[in-house]
Amino acid sequence: MTPAKTAAATAVLLLATACSAGGAAPPPADTLIWATTSAPNSLDIAHGFNSASTLVQAAVLDSMVGLDERGKPVPRLAAGWTQPDPASYLFTLREDVRFTDGSPLTADDAAFSLRRHLDPAVASQAASYFTMVKKVEAVGAGQVKVTLRRPAPAFLSVSAIAWQVVPRKLAEAHPKDLGSPEVGTLGTGPYKVSRFSLTSGVVLERNEAYWGPRPALRRIEVKSIADPETLRLAVRSGEVDGTSDLNARDARKWTGLPGVKTIFYPGDNISYLSLAVGNGPLADVHVRRAIAYAVNRRAISDLMTAGHGAPAAALLPAPMLTALYGSAPPPLPDYPYDPAKARAELARSAHPGGFTLAVPYAGGGDTGTVMQAVAADLAKIGITLRLEPAPADQYQSRMMEHDRLGIQFVSLAYGTPEPIEVLPDMISRASAQPQGFNFSGYGSAETDEKLDALVSATGEDAKAQVTALLKEIAEQVPYIPLFHTDNAVALSERFTASLGTWTTDMFARIRPAGR
């Protein structure tokens, strides 16, 4: 036998032993195999406020409030609410709701579920959502009263995301490890957890006693596949039915897969460049404007979204703009791509001939791609970016420590249509501290006051105040909005889905095709 033949024979032998289980029969139509790139790490939003985890949380736990397709708060576990005064809410609980272990849901459970996020011992990742909350108490058997420090219209929206209701007894016993694979969680949602492991994934079973409409899927398996290409191959081979962890920019690689459809819908996100206004040449507003002119946002947007997104005009996610202004956003100072104007702007700065700036950035992923494109654009007007790569985690840590900020590419996704979820993070002085999200360092007592006023503003008043802030940002250019990208889902054609920007409970929106 030649070596080739020997090798072939060996391979065949191996296959013979292995193939029997290779092409398993397709799972029942009402079982969904879902994949995420990172495993859900906690079934408690306090410790697992990330997309993979919240995906599962939303299927298992109910929140007090929900969001409709336009992003407006609607009743969920709360049958309704009243506002005794602008700074307090009185929620009335839905009756006869039970946790999946059969115990009834009480107002005390609901109140504690919110209150625990304020407890430093819990160190909740959602704590910053509820800083306006002063007091939460159960009133009688079916009512919860929330008292805010001051009026804050965004409270309802953030509650839709983060006020998940769990039994007080369980949450109190496990302040730190509720939702971990060891402890698990208990909810009132459409699904219950039948298995949760970081390695073999999550298995959800339909909650037959669910108070709402009967869930369409009987069983959901969530697996994690860290490598995006392996994930794609898994979907392609039919081993996985769907995933939402695909990049819009990779649409080309996904759209042709047989038996798989790709769904795109506007995402509540914004990608932008942050310019550290305290850092050398960037302190000069003309430099910042020059950079804004020099960056070809259209090209970057096309590169990063492959047509499933658009250049960003203002520093708010597109859905937020739509929710606020409808189809008529206010005019804002604009910096269309124009190297000539960029050079002119630079000429008016203290660095007319350009300069060199060391820019740390994350080695891989979108950041790497965008920063390479930006560097190429800026080189044309004489600004040299010396890209200093670092591992993604390390870069992230450094950035959060506000260590050596300069030009940063940032991409943020949000859950609510409230601009107040975005703007304070961007330009408040408090956020300019380490671990804050104000990477530009822009902000003053004056802006803080404006932000402060915005918290309690409503209606046209709020709209005007947001416009004013956006205008200031556009003029001072601490940030350069780059693009919005669509959310993308790849789903086997055996299923259908109705998804929208404000969808939180994705699994509830997926049903077997033809039913």
């Binding site: 070596p3 406020f49 704590a127 694979p181 060891e182 290409e229 898994a234 840590s397 671990q435």
Partner: protein
């Protein structure tokens, strides 16, 4: 007695090794920028109170020696801590993943031995022939191709194009597990099998030229006896060593393959934990790695003790 002395010496070396390893890793992790806060805060906006609470809880403001001493104290009491990322006990985290990596490592080792040993012997027997050239060249290629590149190739060819094997995951039942681990094991075993082929071929050639083999043949011993008690038994010694070292390397080094095949093994865990500054997990993994190397070396020593009378009686003397 010999065994006890050996065990004692090995134990001493192991303690030293583990001490050095753990201190080095701990130091490295602390020296690097960032901490577990990123993971604990979920990369989200946070309140100062939360941040302070976290620093307090995780003793992030203590100096290195204090933190290391605390870790070491706990570790010596058998408490390896809790994963920052999943909030599970580290032991559980590792126990969850060990079967995957161990299965993969064992599978790869079996493939390595089953393919490598006969191929090496065959090449030596047909020295200079076409079969030898083929095997030698094949092993050279297998040795040179990075395991991740091979993984991608196998994945694309056998799992996606031909659909013979699953693309990812580790399977649950035994048959599933074998099916799932076949391609990764092949990817992992290729380079090692190549090593074994080379080793085996060289050992067999040495043997063929050795006086004692000629003398055995000169006495007209049956072919089977010459093969088993002369060729194989003597060639087994170097292969044993290599095999053991490969097993140790597999248990800690299947990172690439795990990543490419979406396996949740120790390698994948390490990559994640290092990124997340999940110090307890990294520490435990590094310790485990050290223990495995020590244990495997010990096993090799013991095996030598059984197989080789020189070592057995030498140790006794």
């Amino acid at each position: 007695m010999a065994v006890l002395t050996l065990l004692g010496r090995r134990l001493g070396a192991a303690v030293l090794l583990l001490g050095v390893l753990s201190a080095l890793t701990y130091g490295l992790l602390l020296a690097a920028p960032g901490g577990p806060e990123q993971v604990l805060l979920g990369g989200r906006p946070s309140t100062p109170e939360t941040r302070a609470a976290i620093r307090e809880q995780y003793h992030l403001d203590d100096p290195f020696p204090v933190r290391y001493a605390r870790w070491l104290g706990d570790a010596l009491h058998g408490d390896l801590g809790t994963s920052v990322y999943s909030r599970e006990p580290v032991v559980t985290v590792i126990a969850d993943r060990l079967p995957v990596t161990a299965g993969l490592a064992a599978y790869a080792l079996v493939l390595t031995v089953v393919v490598g040993v006969p191929a090496g012997l065959l090449a030596a027997m047909r020295r200079g022939g076409r079969l030898d050239q083929g095997i030698t060249l094949g092993s050279l290629a297998a040795l040179s191709i990075p395991s991740f590149a091979l993984s991608i190739l196998l994945l694309y060819g056998f799992a996606v194009r031909l659909g013979w094997f699953p693309v990812f995951g580790e399977g649950r039942t035994l048959t599933e597990r074998i099916t799932h681990l076949t391609l990764p094991a092949v990817a992992l075993a290729a380079a090692q099998a190549a090593l074994v082929v080379r080793q085996m071929r060289a050992a067999a050639l040495d043997l063929a030229a050795s006086d004692f083999l000629t003398f055995a043949r000169a006495r007209g011993l049956p072919r089977r006896r010459v093969w088993t008690s002369y060729a194989l038994r003597n060639a087994a010694l170097p292969v044993l060593t290599v095999g053991g070292l490969l097993l140790a390397a597999n248990l800690t080094g299947s990172v690439f393959v795990e990543r490419a095949f979406g396996l949740h093994g120790l390698g994948a865990l390490l990559i994640g934990a290092v990124g997340q500054k999940d110090i307890p997990v990294v520490q435990a993994l590094v310790l485990l790695g050290g223990v495995i190397v020590v244990a495997v070396n010990l096993l090799i020593d013991l095996a030598y003790l059984v197989v080789d009378p020189r070592v057995r009686k030498g140790a006794a003397a």
